[in-house]
């Protein structure tokens, strides 16, 4: 690889991780992926200095003072989050179970709006959040009982979410192929593609297209027996091959957009 090629690859990788903003607020989930609730909690987990953090999903919002990974105060909330209305303008304390439950409930409901989740971060006022003990993130997580399986890498999430859209799938990760298929004959055809054609195609495509560091989906129509298509997804150093019908081509591309773009 030449020096210029290495620079291009690095730039493409950085571009693939580009932060997306809407209306001046940072997008942390498109409502589908990354899973909204873990994304919200991760935002709290990375807030150490005192900050006013506002989470917004559609017309709903929750504004909190967060410091040292604790929720210190609730400064405002949209009226639909009724459970936290009595807490607006007060310090939060973890020794009040009803406060803990109300905040957890509001965060969960915000994450279930099926809307992109945006976050806006600013400096907190000097008097905000001084009166409570705060709600540690760990206690919040225990109460919410996150589904750890939901926090998958995009590729694993995509493969699970698309399960009804393909007949066979081969995932190449950590140097090995992992397989899933309804039809062993189709899987064998896909394995043949992986064993015999894949490396040459990848090398050829890399010459003509932008560096492969950015996530992408390629689909070729009616290349297998019975008119089945082959699609390939690249992301984060992994790639997966799928055999699917022409009828599922559009659905697969829509699912890719939902998982891999904000």
């Amino acid at each position: 690889m030449t020096h210029d090629d290495a620079i291009a690859d690095n730039l493409a990788a950085l571009a693939a991780r580009q932060t997306v903003f809407r209306d001046g607020k940072r997008v942390i989930s498109n409502g589908f992926f990354p899973p909204p609730l873990p994304a919200i909690l991760q935002e709290i987990a990375t807030t150490v200095l005192p900050r006013q953090v506002t989470f917004q999903a559609g017309d709903s919002h929750l504004s909190l003072v967060v410091s040292e990974r604790r929720l210190m105060a609730l400064t405002s909330a949209s009226s639909d989050l009724a459970e936290v209305q009595p807490l607006i303008g007060t310090g939060l304390s973890h020794d009040q179970p009803d406060v803990l439950e109300a905040v957890a409930s509001a965060l969960v409901r915000l994450s279930q709006m099926e809307q992109p989740v945006l976050v806006d971060t600013g400096f907190s006022g000097p008097s905000e959040g001084q009166s409570g003990l705060g709600v540690p993130l760990g206690m919040l997580k225990d109460l919410i009982a996150l589904d750890q399986a939901e926090q998958e890498r995009p590729m694993a999430f995509f493969i699970d979410a698309s399960a009804d859209l393909y007949v066979a799938c081969l995932l190449h990760t950590d140097g090995t192929w992992m397989e899933a298929a309804e039809d062993e004959t189709v899987l064998a055809s896909l394995q043949q593609v992986a064993d015999v054609q894949w490396e040459r195609f990848q090398a050829s495509f890399a010459k003509h297209a932008a560096p492969l560091a950015a996530p992408r989906l390629i689909s070729l129509g009616a290349v297998l027996e019975d008119g089945l298509c082959v699609s390939v997804v690249w992301a984060d150093g992994e790639y997966a091959l799928f055999a699917h019908s022409q009828a599922d081509l559009v659905g697969l591309h829509e699912m890719w957009r939902r998982v891999f773009t904000l």
């Binding site: 003509h208 009616a222 297998l224």
Partner: protein, 121 residues
């Protein structure tokens, strides 16, 4: 209807398409691009090369056992479609579009466009 008129009509139907082109993959050249196309010759040639890589030659499919009749390449903010002309397998309709393009509707309309272009040839 000329090839340019056919491409322009398809563009009118699907404004999400920024660039529509009719290409000779064997020669590696775009023959006609739609009137609204903002790409220069160099960019069109690169597009043609990428499409040629995806569609391959009829006798040498890039993946699988049959040459693809359609190829799509999607990444954030960019969607490339290439449809092989049924009557002239070395020719193809290329489209560079926003990812929000109505894929199902476009595929059908693009095939009609290719049929119309082939009828004029």
């Amino acid at each position: 209807m000329t090839v340019l008129e056919a491409l322009d009509r398809l563009h009118t139907q699907f404004p999400a398409c920024g660039t529509l082109a009719y290409a000779d993959l064997a020669a590696g050249m775009v023959l006609v691009a739609n009137s609204q196309c903002a790409l220069d010759r160099h960019a069109l040639d690169a597009l043609c090369a990428e499409a040629g890589c995806l569609l391959g030659e009829a006798s040498s499919p890039p993946l699988g056992s049959n040459a693809p009749d359609i190829a799509l390449a999607q990444q954030a903010g960019r969607l490339l479609l290439a449809l092989r002309a049924p009557e002239q397998p070395s020719d193809a309709l290329l489209c560079l579009a926003d990812p929000e393009l109505d894929l199902g509707g476009f595929r059908s309309a693009a095939r009609d466009c290719l049929t119309a272009i082939s009828a004029e040839a």
